[in-house]
C-alpha cells in the first residue's frame, strides 16, 4: 500500500491504495467522488474521463499512484458555489442528457476541448468526443450543447 496525495478539484486529497488500483476506483471508492462513472473499464467508452494535469484522460487506464503529486479535475469540480458550469447548463438546456451514464465523461472531454479558449468547429467537437460513447442521445444534442457552451465558457 502506498499513500497517494494529489490535488482533486482544487483541494489536496490523500488516501491509501495498492499500486494496481486504477485512478477511477481510487476516486470513487477511496475519495468517494462517485460522479466519475465506470463503464467498460477497458478504455473504450470514455465514461471515466477526468482531467489529469490539464488534459482529459480515461481514469480506468491510469494507476492512481501515477497521479501522486498531480492535479486531477472530476465532474464534481465543474459547478461552483452551487451554480452549474456553463457546460452543464448547456447540456441541460439542449437536452444532451438521457440516461446520464456517459454525461460525466462527455462533460470532461468537452471541458478539455474548451479549456484552450478557442471556439471549436463542429468537426473539432466531434473529434474531441469520439472517445466517449453515448447509447441514448445519438450525439446531436451533445454536439449542440458543447457548441452553445463554447460561446460562454469561463
Amino acid at each position: 500500500m502506498a499513500n497517494i496525495s494529489l490535488t482533486v478539484n482544487g483541494e489536496t486529497r490523500s488516501g491509501e491504495a495498492e499500486s494496481r488500483t486504477l485512478l477511477v476506483h481510487f476516486l470513487r471508492d477511496t475519495l468517494r467522488l462517485t460522479g466519475t462513472h465506470v463503464g467498460c473499464v477497458v478504455g473504450r467508452c470514455g465514461a471515466c474521463t477526468v482531467m489529469w494535469n490539464g488534459a482529459p484522460v480515461k481514469s480506468c487506464m491510469v494507476f492512481a499512484v501515477q497521479t501522486d503529486g498531480d492535479e486531477v479535475v472530476t465532474v464534481e469540480g465543474l459547478a461552483r458555489d452551487k451554480r452549474l458550469h456553463p457546460l452543464q447548463e448547456a447540456f441541460w438546456k439542449k437536452d444532451a442528457v438521457e440516461c446520464g451514464y456517459c454525461t460525466p465523461g462527455m462533460l470532461m472531454s468537452a471541458y478539455g476541448l474548451l479549456s484552450n479558449g478557442k471556439t471549436p468547429t463542429e468537426a473539432e467537437i466531434k473529434k474531441a468526443i469520439s472517445g466517449n460513447l453515448c447509447r441514448c442521445t445519438g450525439y446531436g444534442n451533445i454536439v449542440a450543447a458543447i457548441r452553445e457552451a463554447a460561446g460562454n465558457f469561463k
Binding site: 499500486s19 494496481r20 494507476f63 469520439s130
Partner: protein, 291 residues
C-alpha cells in the same frame, strides 16, 4: 479487472531507469503512457512484478530539428506530435498519423516510444517510420545504438529491442524538399486501429515523373512493411492513373493479411490497395501544387 500486484518505481533519469531494468530483468516492464500496457495488465497477459514509470523522466519529451532530421523524445505524446508546428510544417504525414491514433484521451497519454515498442501490426507510427527511414536510438547498460526502422519490427508485437533496452529517441530524416507526404488510414469506426494504412512521401518533376518515392504500409501482414517493389515500380516514371492502379494491384498481390474482426483476408487486400492508391493520388496532387 485488476492487474496482478506489482511494485511501482519512478526513476528520475534514464540512467536510473536503465539500472532498474537491469536489476529486475524479465520481472520488470517499462510504463510510458500505459495505453497499451495497462489493458494488457488488466487481462493479465502482462504480469510485471515491477513497473518502471518513465514518463516523468526529464529530457525524454521533446521535438526538435537537428542535422537535417526531426528528433523526437520517446515519451513525447501523440497529441504533441499531432500539434507540433515543426512536424506539421516539415513532416505532415507524421502529424496526420499521430492525429489518427485512437481518441483524444488516448492521444493525451500515449507516447510515440510506447507506440513503436508495442509494435501493433496496424499501429499508426509503423508505416511512417518505415517510409521515412526513421532510426530508433536506444540505450542499455552496454551503450547506445541506433536501429533502422527496417530492422526494428520483427513480428507482430515484437521488435528488435532487447529486454534491457530503452527506446530514447526517434530520428526522422527530413524528406526531400518539394516532396509531399500523406498518411491514409482506413478504420472501421472512429478511434479504432487501422484495417489498412499507407504512408506515401512523393516528389515529381515538372513533367510529372517521380523523382523520389517512399512508402510504408500496414494491414498486409503481421507487421508494417516498406514495399520496395512498389517504390521501384513508381520511381522514374510518370505517375498517372494507370500506374497508380498497377501499384495497387502489386501491393494487393504481395499482401498476406490476417483475417480478424476487422475483415477477411480478401477484403483487407482490397483495403490495402485502396489506401495506397488514395495516398498516392493525394500526395501527387500536393506535390504538384508545390511545383
Amino acid at each position: 479487472m485488476y492487474p496482478a500486484a506489482f511494485e511501482y518505481l519512478r526513476p528520475r533519469s534514464i540512467r536510473e531507469a536503465v539500472e532498474l531494468l537491469l536489476r529486475h530483468g524479465e520481472d520488470a516492464k517499462l510504463l510510458a503512457g500505459g495505453q497499451s500496457l495497462v489493458p494488457m495488465m488488466k487481462l493479465r497477459v502482462a504480469r510485471p512484478k515491477y513497473l518502471i514509470d518513465i514518463h516523468r523522466i526529464a529530457g525524454l519529451n521533446y521535438v526538435r530539428e537537428e542535422h537535417g532530421a526531426i528528433c523526437i523524445g520517446a515519451t513525447t505524446r501523440h497529441v504533441q506530435i499531432e500539434q507540433s508546428p515543426l512536424i506539421r510544417d516539415k513532416m505532415s504525414m507524421l502529424a496526420q498519423a499521430a492525429g489518427e491514433i485512437g481518441d483524444a484521451q488516448v492521444r493525451n497519454r500515449g507516447t510515440i516510444g510506447g507506440g513503436l515498442a508495442e509494435a501493433d501490426p496496424v499501429g499508426d507510427y509503423g508505416p511512417v517510420a518505415l517510409a521515412l527511414d526513421a532510426r530508433m536510438k536506444c540505450v542499455r547498460p552496454s551503450g547506445v545504438r541506433e536501429i533502422p526502422a527496417s530492422d526494428f519490427f520483427t513480428f507482430a508485437y515484437t521488435t528488435a529491442l532487447e529486454p534491457d533496452e530503452i527506446l530514447m529517441e526517434i530520428i526522422f530524416p527530413l524528406p526531400p524538399r518539394g516532396s509531399a507526404g500523406v498518411y491514409h488510414k482506413l478504420e472501421k469506426v472512429a478511434g479504432d486501429f487501422a484495417i489498412a494504412a499507407a504512408a506515401v512521401q512523393l516528389a515529381v518533376g515538372r513533367d510529372g515523373v517521380c523523382t523520389s518515392i517512399a512508402i510504408g504500409v500496414s494491414g498486409g501482414g503481421p507487421m508494417p512493411q516498406k514495399p520496395a517493389a512498389v517504390e521501384n515500380l513508381l520511381r522514374g516514371k510518370k505517375i498517372d492513373r494507370e500506374l497508380t492502379e498497377e501499384a495497387g494491384r502489386l501491393i494487393q498481390d504481395d499482401a498476406e493479411p490476417i483475417e480478424d474482426l476487422r475483415g477477411s483476408a480478401a477484403y483487407k487486400r482490397k483495403a490495402l490497395s485502396a489506401v495506397l492508391r488514395r495516398a498516392l493520388t493525394e500526395s501527387l496532387r500536393l506535390t504538384t501544387n508545390n511545383l
